[in-house]
Amino acid sequence: MKKKSTMWIIRSLFILSFLVLLPPCLIAEEQEDQQAVQDVQDTKTQDSSETLAVAPDPVEENPKDLTFEKSVVMLEVVQQDWDYKTPWKQSAMARGVGTGFIIDGKRILTNAHNISNIKYLEVKKQNVAKRFPAKAVFVGHDCDLAIIDVEDPSFYEDMVPLELGGIPQVNSTVTTCGFPVGGRQVSITKGVVSRIEVGNYSHTQADMHLLVQTDAAINPGNSGGPVLQNGKVVGVAFQGLQTADNIGYMIPTTVIQHFLKDIEDGKYDGFPSPAIAVYEGLHNPAYKYYLKLPDFVEGVVVLLVQKNSTAEKILLPGDVITQIDGFNIDNDGMIKIYGLSLNWSEALETKQIGESVEITYCRDGKPSKATLKAALNLPILPWSLQFDKKPQYYVYAGLTFTPLSRNYLQTFGRNWLTEIPFTLRYLFHNSMELNEDPKRQEYVVLSEILPDEVNTYCNPFLSQVVEKINGVMIYSLKDVREQLSKTPEGGCHQIRFLNNDMPLILDATMAQDRQAAILEQYQVPSNVYIEE
């Protein structure tokens, strides 16, 4: 039983982390891998000839599925992330390989994770020696999709764009095309659609959208490649499950269409978030009676409404949402959409930012209707990783302040979730409940101390979250800069941290005097980067 109880936690907390992105495979590993791939291919040929001898394959090939040569391209990329403890520095660069394919309008569609934090991008056609430098045009990190463009117009001359199809049937055959573990030729694998459900997109670690599971082999390097059925694209291969055999995932065309429609206006906005936490399990008749719901009414119970979100002032904890956008929500939180039973959030997924969605809810047994505006509704401490965004920081007296983000928390290493200091863990899990102040924009953490005589005694405060400076509440990195730029009363700045009764005291004059020397010694190009 003891073991079981531990299981709960692991299940609820870490189930998402089993999903692994298919990173553009590293060039350094390519040679060895190619050897391995070669071996597998050899045996495969033998096997299949044997099978053929016994029973010929009855599945009819659709010749249209094999037009990949003129549509599928290889991406060679160089990526480099920032160091979120000392955000003026960048971490080591990585080279990799991914896949993309041509769609209408002379565009190349691929995964966002192939080209996040991109430094250099090159596109290669099959059987053509020429390389084409390219650039990212639109990147949707939340849905792991991106559009890239090749400047050389001759690139598109002999290319054939692929057409987008619909959601494939479960148990129907699909073909994936891509460059798994590198290689020069497009590799084709085949499998069936195993299931279709809403799940985690591991690129940002936190976003949930519709995804299609297939047993067609999807490996690193396949990322961004098309998954075809009857000559049409039914998905973009993007991630696999590390702990299982032959479980690969593709992004279905509903998500791709949303992305393409989103960028029609020249910028990417993203998917809306409902900004509420609900209970998807209203099965208990006593609970229904208490909520004054008739027995036949089904729905989900609102537990929490995010501050400063579009749902605030519309919904209250205890409301039961029964319909969204005309779809009836059942007691498991599912709606019937696309001929499938999917989580109610799928109805909101069809909306673009700024559009609205109608909901029906019961409060005190009385049904009402309301219109929710589809918005990003970003939380104070986002669970999503961020990319392509230079991290913000402020350095004062060698103390480096930065907004608390998942990227920063992951600097604690592989087991960051259990190894980060407790206050950070508490905020990461419960910032929605813990922050009661609508003025808060973010939490600010003391991420690094650049050692100097002025901060000799500051080490105990490392990795702690700033609460107040000189008696003023801190709601953002800008507040930190504002307070520390002032001349404090009595000549000393007093910084208070969350859950720490000891204040950090800094001599303001000395801090001012040492500032230039510290920046020079530690090669900090500027003491501040804050987006205005």
Binding site: A286, G318, T418
Partner: protein, 494 residues
Amino acid sequence: MKILQTLIISIVIVVLSSCAGTEKKTEVISTSEKMKNSLVNLRISVGGYEQFQPWKQREVTQQSGYGCAVGPYLILTTANNIANATIVQTRRYEMNEWISATVKTIDYEYNLCLLELDPNSAGQPFEPVEFVENYAQGQEHSIYWLSGGGHLTEARGILDRAQCESNPVSFTDNLYYILTNPSRATDQAEVVCCQDKAVGIVGFSDETDLCVIPAEMINRFLNEAQEPDYKGFGIPGFSTSALLDPTVRKHLKMPEDMKHGVYVSKVHSLGTGSNELKPGDVILSIDDNSINPYGRYLHPLYDRIDMDYLISQKKPGDTLSFLVFRDGSQTTVNAKVANFKADQMLVPFYEYGKQPSYFVTGGFVFQKLTRNYFALWGDNWSGKVPPHLYQYYSNNAFNPSEERQDIVILSYVLPAPINLGYQDLGRLIVSTWNGMKIHSFEDIEKARQLNSSDPFDVIEFEFNSPKIVIPRQNIVQYDTQIGQIYGITSLKHI
């Protein structure tokens, strides 16, 4: 040349092995005649309760331990040895019988336990060991015990230092004499002697250090144990942070030549100083012992030692005089020495020998949050326990209040038709029951009497969670049924 080399090597080998041989000979156990009639071997059956199913006792295991006589029929051992014991038996030198012993006094904070034997069954009176307060730094000490095989056994080690160490069974820091590099593996409650004098018993040991509970603590414990009502000793009611930074000292308006004093970062609601000290105070001295920036003072024998030691020597009700620097000036604060038991804490640190509090209704298992409960998350639980549960322990364990004496949680749900839809809930903190704030575990019974005309019990939780609604009709019947299905002998222990 080569032959010569081999010859030399073989000679060396011969010499080495003969050395080893002689070493073995000197290792022959020397017995101390004096100890023969004082040492006992203990056989302890350890039980306790499961945390996940608190109605169930854990499998009983047997362990052996040591002890020594401190009276004709009184045995001293560590509290750690006796924690969760269901039965304790003793055997003396050259005797075959196991004689049952009962716990007379146990103090987990001092980590000492006094056992009593029935003179009728124990036979000849023991010869009590007399503990002498003696701190002979640098000298060799002998450690004696009566082994499981009935041998009087001895080890040796050098007394290196005295220091405050964290107690392995409680939340306190205590004085220990540290012996280094003992000549063989040692265990709790073995008697440590310097020349012919017993100076302490082994508290705990690791690979290099042997931590000895010194005679002064043992004697204080034994004297106090004579009293009809054992009260124990002082426990600090605050925590401190080192005060090194001259800028902070300046900010606190401390004179520049004042280099001592430690910063009070937290004042709890239990323990010594909890009513008198304030966060932000700087403790300059306690009973005229000047406190350094790390919170230590200069002891004539032990050199620099933690101020916790000063508090742990006092009895509850005694007074300690704190000189503090507060709001820019020095003030003397007379603090009443106080202590507390683990079950007074908001999240009890231990529950040795006690059945955990629980309450089962409608298949919902409610439990009192304790530190032991966290063990369900396995090793390194501090990083895995849900943070909202953990913060009551890490930030507020010593801060129970009128408002909050216990943390009551819904531990998990035993699936049954009555709790349909709720079956995956768990690890939630109860805030109200039938609209009544839950301050302690006992409140559950009071709250259940409320709103007697309502058809339901309604329970609310902290943070985002659905309310639990339990129908009252036929609930007794349902509860009995669930108890039978899941083998729960009693549906509550409060």
